[in-house]
Amino acid sequence: MAFEYAPAPESRSVVTIASSYGLFINGEFVDAKSGTMFKTINPATEEVLADISDAGAEDVDRAVAAARKAYTGAWGSMSGRDRSKYLFRIARLIQERSRELAVLETLDNGKPIRESRDVDIPLVAGHFFYHAGWADKLDYAGYGANPRSLGVAAQVIPWNFPLLMLAWKIAPALACGNTVVLKPAETTPLTALAFAEICQQADLPPGVVNILTGAGDTGRLLVEHPGVDKVAFTGSTEVGKAIQRAIAGTSKSLTLELGGKAANIVFDDAPLDEAVEGIVNGIFFNQGHVCCAGSRLLLQESIAEEAMEALKRRLGTLRLGDPLDKNTDIGAINSAEQLARIHALADSGDEEGAERWSPPCELPDTGFWFAPTVFTGVTQAHRIAREEIFGPVLSVLTFRTPEEAIEKANNTPYGLSAGVWTEKGSRILWMADRLRAGVVWGNTFNRFDPTSPFGGYKESGFGREGGRQGLGAYLKEQS
């Protein structure tokens, strides 16, 4: 007898979305001088959610000027203790409005409400709480006595964890005494704009936080603006390189958090059921729109068949559909563009001879959807083993020995994260020691915490976010 789950939608009424939004500059919402607007949609339904301002060069000027004024004025001279109290206010407001923010994030991004409610928003609050406490303790952070802030930070963030990426950028920047101009991704501006309201509710001095919505051009103008002291970027490796090139020869500090193609390595003595959960979480959490996704599954050859059976069986229980339904596991792909990219790379997998499999999956008629997909018979030379797909597509390779696993795992220009599954403690640590990745998850995957530094090796970027180490991105060391 089948146990069907009735629809269990989270109510939309908790959030109010305006029909249009201006830019948040100097503590107020203002019309963009550029005069142009664009639309943000719900990728699950293609419904238009709101009209969004597209910041142009003049708007960038205004925002940077406001940030500079706040820096040389109220914020720059403020004690760490007082900065800390503003950040605590913001953290509390986020908690108070957490249901509303989760629903808004799901509507604008397409991710399941369970994830925005249980993962994204709690971590957002956590980041503000954690960094609030650092603001008046920077002397103890290991950057020398009285480390100074950098000034005005230009921050450009991606669409995959919109409010969380905002928290990762703004919390440490403010804790260290900087002011910011942040550009959210074109397809996911709404929670950043809600955050602007929260800054108003917290009575944050005007100009400390400025939010400029816009597309690629806005980001470029912001990053290249001469009035900016620090650039922090999370996004594609291609754009990261362009930014690094663009600020060469200036005195701007830079941190980058770029793409990845993480190896998730399963040994023959892995706790198999939990490893399967870790594999599923690793690549299908957030529809695979995760820079640190475990997109290359490396199975020890002796258990490859058994593990694939268990994995396929588990994939059959994944629920794809309305992101606002509390029982949905897999939500919508964020945009038509991203969907096209995923299709193109998945098709290359077919062309190059890998074997594709998906569980039976009904895709809704409207919106952007991609069924969870697994490719077996993949080798290092396949495009789907080298290029970041940023979607719910898993490439499965095999290995024989721990050394071979290390070789294959490290054989990539990326180096963001890796996973290892084995019951043998010494092997966990041996593997962790040798994996060239900024984050190594042993017998777990996709765990994040404000105290735990996150960032990549090699072309996955440089600099860390979170923890004591993450503060370094926003402080000037005496040297």
Binding site: G126, G142, Y143, G144, T237, G240, K241, A242, I243, Q244, R245, I247, A248, G249, S251, L256, L258, P413, I428, A432, A437, G438, V439, V440, W441, G442, N443, T444, R447, D449, T451, S452, P453, F454, G455, Y457, K458, E459, S460, G461, F462, R464, G467, R468, Q469, G472, E477, Q478, S479
Partner: protein, 288 residues
């Protein structure tokens, strides 16, 4: 009694623990601060730079897999041998920079002391830059600094020994291997240092010293996909520095920008130690 005819040195490159000439066969004239001829130094080519990177990658494997304690021992030995050659270094620095004897002595002493300081850092960096992280869940979570790999560096142009040591020390103390281009006009102290390194148990390839023109070699090193980071300390030409940074972007290298007006005598702090490490964070569940 006639003056003894001295045996003059051929100044070669230091690559992979050996002293090859440049594969191009070229040399360039090194003159002292007084304009007098000092030496024909090898003029390294891009192929030498390429070979140095290969040597460095090999050296990195050996150097980074040694224990921190062992690295400290090796670096301290370097300081011991430097001390033994103190008089030679003083004379090299005087010739190169035209300093008074006391000023040269001050620089050499500071350089040796600086090297000792970095020798003591090898087994402390982890504790100072690393951490255990109190994550909000049943996980053991820790962060450790690891060397980034191979660093290509341009030594300061003016401070021929202290500046060089201040650039090299933090790079190798943190476990990295390095290809360093010595000061173009004042390379001799660097060459003497290479002889010290060769006799100090430093694994071949850990430190490679090239003499020649950074304008020629650095673009190749900046774009080299097997170089992980650049230290542009001695790049005095702003246009070159900018173009190197741009090249480096193609492989997302970590770039430490040029230092103008550095006071090499000042306390270095942690900034250079931090510059060439990657932080690796490891998570594991706490359960039965």
């Amino acid at each position: 009694m006639t003056d003894r005819v001295d045996v003059r040195k051929t100044f070669k490159l230091f690559v992979g623990g050996a002293f090859p000439r440049s594969e191009s066969g070229r040399t360039y004239e090194v003159t002292g601060a007084d304009g007098g001829f000092l030496a024909n130094a090898a003029k390294a080519s891009r192929k030498d730079a390429r070979d140095a990177v290969i040597a460095a990658r090999k050296g990195f494997a050996a150097w980074s897999s040694a224990t921190a304690y062992n690295r400290g021992q090796v670096l301290y030995r370097v300081a011991e041998v430097m001390e033994g050659r103190r008089a030679q270094f003083v004379s090299d620095v005087r010739d190169a920079e035209g300093l008074s004897k006391s000023a040269a002595v001050a620089q050499v002493d500071a350089a040796i002391d600086r090297w000792v300081w970095y020798a003591g850092w090898t087994d402390k960096v982890t504790q100072v830059l690393g951490s255990a992280n109190p994550v909000a869940g049943p996980y053991f979570d820790f962060s450790v600094p690891e060397p980034t790999g191979v660093v290509a560096a341009v030594a300061p142009q003016d401070s021929s020994l202290l500046g060089l040591v201040s650039v090299l020390g933090p790079i190798v103390a943190t476990g990295n291997a390095v290809v360093v281009i010595a000061s173009t006009d004042r390379p001799i102290p660097a060459i003497t240092l290479s002889e010290v390194l060769a006799t100090s148990d430093v694994p071949g390839g850990t430190i490679n010293i090239l003499t020649g023109d950074p304008n020629e070699m650095m673009p190749w090193l900046a774009s080299h996909a097997d170089v992980n980071a650049l230290d542009l300390a001695g790049v005095s030409d702003a246009a070159l520095a900018t173009s190197l940074e741009q090249e480096a972007a193609d492989t997302v290298k970590r770039v430490r920008r040029a230092t103008t007006d550095a006071d090499w005598f000042a306390d270095p702090g942690l900034s250079r130690l931090r510059a060439f490490v990657e932080t690796k964070t490891v998570w594991h569940p706490l359960g039965v």
